[in-house]
């Protein structure tokens, strides 16, 4: 796949990232991982001890070392072997890669660093779960933005997969006011990226908003739907980018939404409603919207769910509305080594729908959901840098961890 602009997109000016003066500053570290303590603060954030922060930082540094210092030599050995016996399929490429003994150690350590980060963040959130629940309870009640559905049956694929090794998964909850899952999610994601998505880990949301503003400066959505909003990292970025709009964040996880509502209120973001629902069955009562999007969500859903999500987007969009989906780029005809590196999460990081998603043609899926094929498009989109540039010289790709994504979308026909 070529990540190039296709019709009906206009040409893109080279936009400069917006800077938020009041936001916390990350450290000028170039390509090195940001230490955890540079995370953006708010009332719902878990408080990590020195050693808890250090464990997350140590794991981030190990992963950085693996990506920067070990992968290049692995790629060289792979390409030498592939020159002698070229793989014809990704499975054959995997088989070739797995003949390298150092790939095994690399994988063991990479998996270990993911386990360590998820566990460290979860343990920190879990030990202070009562204090966090108390801190969020009043904030959420005062905000009045949370709409839970105690009768919701969450999709099985969320209930029985602890995606990316997240202890308890997206649906974990330890009481009526519990926010452990949300607090652990934000604490771990800042370490996993690490810090590349900005202090508030909202790079995809800011990228999406900047993309809309750059490509379609006259498009001004009044009602926005974020499907699979989780703890609302990207939702809040979109809400801040379109302060006049009403944003509706939809997710199946009550603990995630309680945290999202408290976090948003604490950050002074008031134009988001947090609605508990299955994104395959977005309630009609939420009404028509001008923009319906997902941000780094589709790889957590089954193919069947994805089809339903795209159908709901088509149904819920007002005439002339826009649907956008930000994800890792499809495998397409990328080099075998890169495909295997990107596919690693699908094999070894509890991402059960990962590999299949990146084989799909999402424009075709959108067409299947009712959008006119000629009004679908795809484009490349990068994380809006905070005070570092993801494309800076010397920065190496850490496949699946760097904020270089694709956006796939479609316009609904005007009435």
């Amino acid at each position: 796949m070529n990540a190039v602009v296709q019709s009906p997109l206009p040409a893109s000016p080279d936009a400069t990232p917006a800077d938020t003066a009041a936001a916390p500053r990350q450290l000028p570290l170039g390509t090195l991982p940001q230490p955890w303590h540079t995370i953006g603060r708010h009332a719902a954030l878990a408080q990590l001890s020195h050693d808890e922060r250090s464990r997350l930082d140590a794991a981030a540094h190990l992963n950085h070392f693996l990506a920067q210092q070990v992968v290049p030599a692995m790629r060289q050995r792979f390409e030498q072997a592939a020159a002698a016996k070229p793989p014809a399929t990704r499975d054959e490429a995997w088989a070739l890669l797995e003949t390298d003994p150092r790939f095994a150690v690399w994988s063991r350590l990479r998996r270990g660093s993911m386990e360590a980060r998820q566990r460290a963040a979860f343990e920190a959130a879990f030990r202070q779960r009562e204090a966090l629940a108390a801190a969020c309870r009043d904030v959420v009640a005062a905000a009045g933005t949370l709409e839970l559905d105690p009768d919701l049956t969450p999709p099985a694929y969320l209930a029985d997969t602890h995606a990316h090794l997240m202890p308890g998964g997206y649906l974990a909850s330890f009481g009526d006011d519990d926010v452990t899952a949300g607090a652990a999610y934000e604490a771990s994601v800042y370490s996993v990226v690490p810090g590349r998505s900005g202090p508030y880990s909202d790079g995809a949301g800011r990228a999406l908003a900047r993309w809309i503003r750059t490509r379609f400066p006259s498009f001004s959505p009044r009602r926005i739907l974020d499907l699979g909003c989780g703890v609302g990292l990207n939702t809040c970025a979109v809400a801040q980018a379109f302060p006049e709009a009403e944003v509706i964040g939809v997710d199946a996880g009550a603990g995630m939404l309680r945290y999202a509502a408290a976090r948003a209120a604490s950050l002074g973001i008031t134009n988001v409603r947090w609605v508990q629902a299955d994104i395959e069955h977005v309630p009609a009562r939420l009404g028509p919207v001008d923009l319906a999007y997902t941000a780094i969500v589709l790889h957590e859903t089954s193919h069947e769910a994805l089809k339903n999500v795209f159908r709901r987007c088509h149904e819920r969009l007002a005439p002339g509305g826009l649907t956008l989906h930000v994800e890792q780029p499809a495998y397409g005809d990328r080099p075998w080594f890169e495909q295997c590196m990107r596919d690693w999460d699908g094999r070894y990081n509890n991402e059960r729908f990962w590999s299949h998603l990146y084989e799909l043609d999402l424009r075709q899926e959108l067409a299947g959901a009712g959008f006119a094929p000629a009004r679908t498009f795809e484009d490349a989109v990068s994380a809006v840098p905070w005070n570092t540039d993801p494309r800076a010289p010397g920065r190496m790709e850490d496949y699946g961890r760097t904020g270089n994504w694709q956006v796939v979308g479609a316009w609904r026909d005007p009435a």
Binding site: H50, H61, V105, R108, G112, S113, E115, A116, N350
Partner: protein
């Protein structure tokens, strides 16, 4: 801390084994964990030294220049010997 909550392996997703020898596999886990704990300890020591220096309680370079008094030196030698035996105990076993 044991929270009792672990990632649940789903069908097709057992904890992967990357190395042929499961003992070596576990050894890498232990090495990674020790490396993480050592990193946290080093960072904590660095924080302590900087805090004490900031309060004027510790001169720059004081730790490196420090010569333990004889009694402390003996205790430290014994402590390091005990530590070495604990860490490498398995090598001394049949």
């Amino acid at each position: 801390m044991n929270t009792g909550i672990e990632p649940v392996p789903v069908e097709g997703f057992p904890r992967p084994q990357f190395l042929a020898d499961p003992t070596i596999e576990r050894l890498w886990d232990v090495v990674s964990a020790l490396s993480t704990e050592l990193a946290a300890t080093r960072a904590r020591l660095d924080a302590l030294e900087r805090i004490l220096a900031g309060q004027g309680a510790l001169a720059p370079g004081a730790v490196d220049a420090w010569q333990p008094p004889a009694e402390a030196a003996v205790a430290r030698v014994q402590d390091m010997q005990d530590y070495t035996r604990r860490v490498f105990a398995s090598l001394a076993q049949d």
